[in-house]
């Protein structure tokens, strides 16, 4: 039985920036191994786990994608023992000053992001946030030693430890999107005890934050009939309160828009209602900003769906999720899979008229 809290805390403490996901991938593989029939790594570094269904061959396939890569920083040059850096994935430079970080040089080096005093910066920064190119990382070692241990291209991850908050909420970096990985893991756990006729492909994708490489390439290998992306979305909180945000701990956000097949939206929505799982309507007028963006247009096109877990302070080292929402998402997925009929594609997905 996988305990969500310790599993997730461990997951977000492992390095795994976009393109360099190996450490976290190994931990996920270890957790999935007893629950799947096959496990392998794709060409782009995504983890593919197959849990075979019990239906007669040829079986339909559902792919569930949760990206495992983290945002972070990368060293660009060394200046007098300090490190200049750029971003990997979208990082707001305003959250950087004073942050603890880990530099993955020839060995793991704890450091701090420094905002230099204004007289060491171009004049315009006296009352403005300092752009990333002028921030520095200090690893507390003399320049000669730094030159031995660090070089351009080395990765830097956030050093913030997870924080358990009241109300069964967890704070930390990289809950985007390891919270969804935990939800998928929870789903696999539940599937151990149910019959499902479809094949289930659990995929921890690589590079979503940078190129969506996993989303574009895994379905080519797997050829699923349905692809579901599970990602995080914006929870209501300070500075985030419009229709794009959802209350924390009050349910799963169900996607609607051009990036989602209307019949899949309806199927998930109806099922959640039936099971008393609270949900929110997540309107995405154009693109979903998730792996579903790539998965939908692979080869001849794939019917896609997006489920999202509300999360506060996205892309900061103190993101916050409610563990309840993670469990709900995993449960909804498992129930959906368990109820998938062999003829779901023919009967439901090819209907383009009755899905309102």
């Amino acid at each position: 039985m996988i305990e969500l809290n310790p599993f997730l805390k461990n997951l977000i403490s492992l390095p795994g920036l976009s393109g360099y996901e190996a450490p976290v991938r190994e931990a996920i593989a270890e957790a999935w191994r007893p629950m799947v029939d096959e496990l392998h790594v794709s060409r782009m570094g995504s983890l593919h786990g197959l849990r075979r269904g019990q239906g007669a061959e040829p079986r339909r396939r559902i792919l569930i994608a949760t990206h495992m890569d983290a945002i972070g920083l990368m060293v660009t040059s060394l200046v007098e023992g300090f490190l200049c850096f750029t971003e990997v994935g979208g990082v707001d430079p305003r959250i950087l000053p004073g942050q603890p970080v880990l530099v993955h040089g020839r060995r793991l080096l704890p450091g701090v992001v420094l905002q230099p005093p204004e007289y060491l910066l171009p004049p315009k920064y006296s009352d403005r946030p300092v752009d990333m190119e002028y921030l520095l990382i200090d690893i507390g070692l003399p320049p000669a030693e730094v030159a031995e241990l660090v070089r351009p291209g080395d990765l830097v991850s956030f050093g913030q430890q997870p924080v358990e908050l009241s109300g069964e909420a967890l704070g930390g970096h990289t809950l985007d999107n390891r919270a969804s990985v935990a939800a998928l893991t929870h789903c696999l756990e539940e599937l151990q005890h149910v019959h499902h006729s479809w094949d289930v492909w659990a995929v921890a994708t690589a590079q979503e934050e940078e190129t969506m490489a996993g989303g574009f390439t895994s379905p080519v290998e797997i050829r699923p009939d349905i692809a579901v992306a599970v990602d995080v979305t914006f929870a209501k909180g300070p500075g985030a309160n419009d229709h794009r945000t959802f209350p924390l701990g009050k349910g799963v956000a169900i996607g609607w828009g051009p990036n989602i097949h209307p019949a899949l939206h309806k199927a998930f929505k109806d099922l959640a209602e039936k099971l008393d799982i609270p949900t929110h309507l997540d309107v995405m007028p154009s693109h979903s900003g998730t792996d579903a963006y790539g998965m939908q247009v692979v080869a001849e096109g794939i019917p896609t769906m997006v489920l999202s877990i509300p999360l506060r302070y996205m892309h900061t080292p103190v993101e916050v999720v409610a563990l309840k929402d993670i469990a709900r998402t995993g449960h909804l997925l498992a129930e959906f899979i368990a109820r998938l009929q062999p003829d779901f594609v023919e009967k439901t997905l090819t209907c383009w008229e009755e899905c309102e």
């Binding site: 794009r244 051009p258 007028p285 154009s286 096109g301 383009w352 008229e353």
Partner: protein, 363 residues
């Protein structure tokens, strides 16, 4: 210099441009991601005559018309069913809905317009703050989209829901030589393609794609091209005619196309560098048949060809459009003559198309 093809010197032509069909299509509500009203009209038209009709995973309609010759060239033609519009994103009291744009829409075109919500065309309006409440400073700024609402009237909250799509409420009409309506981009292309599906040139395998989601990145065209795997492709679209006078009476050097100057052949836009062999094919056919045409100015904008030509191992592609004034606004205008000439050019040129045009490498 490519050899002239050995097609028959007598080519048949299409009789007339189907304006009634265009009217039905133009009045249909089909915003990117929810093209069903348009799709139903297309299906109704093509099912009786096509050998193969399929709706793919994104909702595009893929139709095949077999050739009447051996080893025909497989030609994909694409016209997009979707239009730019709105999605209701937030419900408030008294029939008011917050909304967002879908596709490229200048926010200055949105204000003070009636709209239709959903397939039932529920009427609504997008108003604006009364001028009496404004001052000169406020009026010097664009009205922010998030202050606007779609108003369905006091009881309207029950008539629509968050997630529904909406378009401008423009009724199609013909005014002299001019066709006027919403979504002529690209219902003109859809009507053209329907006409070709009904009257396919016998010498090619016609792979007709009525695509979805062109306005948000040619998403439908991408997968349709992968499915069809054609030898070449033509996107049939509408393109802006900005042939208006400049404010300072200088020459307008950025008109893109001119109304009345004929169908527009693309050499380049922001998404595609047309295959020069196909440019020559269209230009030579236009000149030989005496059909007026113009070259669409290179510059911004794109069509389904942008996605199609990069599919699989590459697809030689070009675009051909009807010039329209007011693209991506509530009221578009096209000249019936330009549309007729596009139909004529396409029909003639396709009948005189054979493998010789693509035999030598792209040059």
């Amino acid at each position: 210099m490519t050899e002239k093809s050995s097609a028959p010197s007598q080519v048949s032509s299409l009789d007339t441009a189907p304006v009634d069909l265009l009217e039905k299509l133009s009045n249909a509500v089909g915003v990117s991601g929810d093209e069903s009203e348009v799709r139903n009209i297309v299906l109704e038209q093509v099912k009786p005559c096509a050998e193969q009709v399929k709706i793919d995973a994104l909702g595009s309609v893929l139709v095949t018309r077999q050739a009447k010759v051996e080893n025909p060239l497989r030609v994909m033609l694409a016209a997009h069913m979707d239009e730019v519009g709105f999605m209701l994103v937030n419900k408030e009291e008294g029939g008011l809905f917050g909304f967002e744009r879908v596709g490229g829409l200048d926010v200055r075109q949105v204000v003070g317009k009636p709209v239709w919500v959903g397939k039932k065309h529920i009427p609504g309006v997008i108003g604006a703050r009364p001028i009496h409440f404004t001052n000169a400073e406020e009026r010097s700024h664009i009205i922010p989209l998030d202050t606007l609402r779609i108003d369905l009237g006091p009881g309207g909250g029950d008539l629509a829901k968050v997630g529904d799509r909406a378009t401008f409420a423009t009724n199609f009409e013909q005014v002299g030589p001019t066709l006027r309506g919403k979504a002529l981009d690209d219902r003109l292309g859809v009507a053209t393609l329907i006409e070709l599906v009904k009257n396919p040139p016998p010498n090619i395998e016609l792979l007709a794609a009525f695509t979805v989601q062109e306005e948000i990145g040619a998403r439908g065209a991408r997968v349709a091209a992968h499915a069809f795997n054609p030898d070449m492709a033509i996107a049939i679209d509408a393109t802006p005619a900005n042939d208006l006078p400049a404010w300072d009476e200088t020459e307008n050097a950025r008109y893109n196309t001119r109304l009345g100057a004929g169908p527009a052949i693309y050499i380049s836009d922001a998404g595609t560098l047309s295959d020069p062999r196909l440019v020559r094919w269209l230009v030579e056919n236009a000149e030989e048949a005496g059909i007026p045409y113009q070259i669409r100015q290179p510059g911004s904008g794109g069509t389904d060809a942008g996605a199609i030509h990069r599919q699989r191992a590459g697809v030689p592609s070009i675009s051909l459009s009807v010039p329209v004034r007011g693209a991506h606004t509530a009221i578009l205008q096209a000249r019936l003559e330009d549309w007729k000439n596009l139909l004529a050019l396409l029909y003639t040129a396709l009948q005189r198309l054979d493998r010789k045009w693509l035999e030598l490498e792209r040059r």
